[in-house]
């Protein structure tokens, strides 16, 4: 399932055929901007509910990506598309909308689109297949995590957020124990479908639990979660005993927290 739909961006001046993806033209008409045979065909790629899309994840099958200066909003430019399309552009309108523009004539206002011949409607119907490849991602969502700890128990805790998410997630709390010893709030970025519900998921943060000097844990500390959306991997910290050779003490654990 693609998790997105492609529709044509309709305009009043167009005479559409049996579907919005076809227009009726008169033989000899030449593709011009705003003319009877419009030089641009505009499609909208819209993400389904709960998904988001990015131009970085979409491409035209068989076409070549053009190296053009960065634009605002972000866009990608393409050439070597099926005739009679000269160029194409994908523009990131929003997190759920990509606007695709197919050019039937050169457009000097667009970097690199200034060569080639404008399309002239021949005496026979033209049917062109433009293949688009791309995947939607699960839309990023807000999250609110509480880390609840026993109080006053000779343990130090610390949370280190994935550096890539530091601008999205905010951590509060000093880890002094009790309800909400730490709180992490923020909005997660879109998540690739192949990571969704996978065992590992996307790495969010490390939650480090360390015993104070002179203390050890009788067993490896555990972290229980009231949600199936998150996955935790734990890594035990063992410290060699000062008093007994070959014996280790459990002095800490690092929990790696993932969003499934």
């Amino acid at each position: 399932m693609a998790n997105y739909t492609i529709t044509r961006h309709t305009e009043n001046i167009h005479a559409y055929g049996c579907t919005q993806f076809s227009t009726n033209q008169i033989e000899g008409q030449t593709a011009t901007n705003g003319g009877p045979l419009d030089s641009t065909i505009v499609w909208d790629i819209k993400a389904d509910q709960g998904f988001s899309i990015s131009i970085d994840d979409f491409s035209f099958t068989g076409a070549s990506s053009m190296n053009v200066p960065a634009t605002i909003p972000a866009s990608t430019s393409w050439e070597n598309l099926p005739s009679p399309i000269l160029f194409a552009q994908m523009v990131q309108i929003s997190t759920v909308l990509i606007r695709v523009t197919l050019y039937l004539s050169p457009d000097p206002t667009q970097p690199g689109f200034n060569f080639g011949n404008s399309f002239v409607m021949p005496g026979t119907d033209i049917n062109t297949v433009v293949a688009i490849e791309g995947c939607a991602k699960i839309a990023g969502h807000s999250m609110r995590l509480w880390f609840n700890e026993p109080t006053g128990n000779n343990t130090i805790t610390e949370i280190t957020i994935n550096p890539n998410l530091e601008k999205r997630l905010l951590q509060e709390g000093e880890g002094d124990g009790g309800l909400k010893s730490h709180e992490v709030v923020g909005t997660l970025p879109p998540q690739a479908l192949d990571k969704v519900a996978s065992s590992s998921g996307d790495y969010l943060m490390s939650y480090v639990v360390v015993a104070e000097s002179g203390y050890r844990y009788k067993s490896v500390p555990t972290l229980t979660i009231n949600s199936k959306l998150y996955n935790v991997e734990s890594f035990t910290q063992l410290t060699p005993s000062e008093y007994k050779e070959g014996e280790n003490n459990i002095t800490g654990v690092r929990f790696e927290i993932y969003k499934k």
Binding site: P73, A74, S94, M143, L145, N148, P150, T155, K218, Y243
Partner: protein, 417 residues
């Protein structure tokens, strides 16, 4: 561990600085957006007035949402340039954006069971025992309340042949200790190292050097270190002795200047230590061969007793376990007094029992009498006799005497009248 709070503070500082920087950037962005908006408004005014001259009018959604500045669009997740984007298009794009529901709290509950890391004892001695049973006597502290009595009860001893046994010292691993055995009888100390001594042949006057372990003058001790097993076994060989010897066993405290930086060894409060009267040292007693003599007590009647029987036996042996005697001995004691005597009223029928034996002050130093079949009699020629058999049990530890009470068994005729 203590660096964590400091780290938090540092992060806090960094965060504040970061927030300040972000605020500055935010202001710059807004200023730029306002500038862009002003330019766009001016441009629109100059063209055809599609947009209202007042930017506060015709703003999409009357809810305070800013759709008229570049920053406002960016905040809405719309990346189109404000100059070329109509309000209708903004409205259409906003309608495609999903409204996020309220965020539920996800709880991560940490559970653990923490304890102090056990610190093993160091430089501590736990016990002083022997591998073999019944070698020495520990002081009986109940006796110490009464200064007139010794704090020991002789329960254990070794015989005149000496004994090889092993002392066991338990303690914390790597604890150093010093153990000494002192011969109280001749003021010598046991040496675990061979000591050279010169032996002179009396006949030839030739001298030879003999190396041996044993007791020597001058303080000597065993210097040991508790191994990983927590117990060190120390062999001891007590030499033979024909006389009773008393040995004292205890630890020797290490002088602080000898410790080389190590902590002083802790022997606790009940282990025996030299150079101190409390707690008392352990006592090892070596007893020679013992004996039991059966006779009649000396009295004015009995000056020349014949037939006294002396039984030689190891101290504390069970004479009734002897295969040859079964503890049964024939007795024939007699004396011939000057005065005419006869059996006393307490032995009128001549049959003797334990009542006719003089009680010893210390019952445990007397050989046990299991049975007696003894008849006392006085012959016509005035010879007093005790004849029969006596069966003995556990023998005395030291030489002892079973004294039949002459004055109780026999009496002069004058007494009878």
């Amino acid at each position: 561990m203590a660096y964590y709070p400091k780290k938090y503070k540092k992060e806090e500082t960094v965060r504040v600085d970061k927030i300040k920087l972000e605020a500055v950037e935010e202001i710059k962005k807004k200023e730029k957006a306002i500038e862009t908006t002003e330019k766009a408004t001016a441009a629109i005014k100059a063209v055809d007035g599609v947009r209202p001259a007042n930017p506060d009018q015709n703003v999409y959604v009357a809810s305070g949402v800013d759709t008229y500045s570049q920053q406002g669009l960016t905040d809405l997740g719309i990346y189109l340039p404000i100059e070329t984007t109509s309000q209708e298009e903004i409205q259409r794009i906003i309608e495609t954006i999903e409204v996020a529901p309220a965020t539920p709290v996800v709880s991560f509950d940490l559970n653990y069971d923490i304890e102090l890391i056990p610190v093993p004892d160091m430089d501590k001695i736990y016990s002083l025992t022997t591998v073999e049973n019944n070698i020495w006597d520990k002081p009986d502290f109940e006796y110490t309340d009464d200064d007139s009595q010794k704090p020991y009860e002789l329960k254990n001893f070794i015989n005149q042949n000496g004994k090889d046994f092993s002392i066991s010292v338990s303690g914390a691993e790597r604890t150093e200790f010093r153990l000494a055995i002192f011969n109280e009888t001749d003021n010598t100390y046991y040496s675990w190292e061979e000591v050279d001594s010169v032996d002179v042949d009396a006949a030839t006057s030739e001298e030879s050097i003999i190396s041996s372990i044993g007791f020597y003058h001058g303080e000597r001790y065993f210097s040991g270190v508790i191994p990983a097993s927590g117990r060190q076994i120390i062999p001891v060989s007590i030499p033979a002795s024909s006389s009773e010897v008393c040995y004292r066993i205890g630890f020797v405290k290490v002088d602080s200047q000898d410790l080389m930086g190590k902590g002083a060894t802790d022997y606790g409060s009940i282990l025996p230590i030299f150079r101190g009267s409390n707690p008392p040292l352990y006592k090892l007693t070596q007893l020679p061969q013992s004996s039991t003599t059966i006779t009649l007590s000396e009295s004015f009647l009995s000056s020349n007793i014949t037939g006294a029987l002396t039984i030689s036996h190891p101290p504390g042996s069970l004479l009734n376990n002897s295969i040859s005697t079964l503890g049964k001995y024939d007795i024939s004691l007699s004396f011939n007094p000057r005065d005419k005597v006869s059996l006393s009223a307490s032995a009128s029928n001549g049959i003797l029992n334990n009542d006719h034996v003089l009680a010893d002050d210390f019952e445990d130093s007397q050989t046990e009498i299991l049975n007696m079949d003894l008849i006392a009699s006085v012959s016509d020629s005035n010879v007093c006799k005790i004849v029969g058999t006596i069966t003995l049990g556990k023998s005395s530890l030291r030489p002892s005497t079973i004294n039949f009470d002459t004055a109780m068994i026999f009496t002069t005729n004058a007494d009878l009248t």
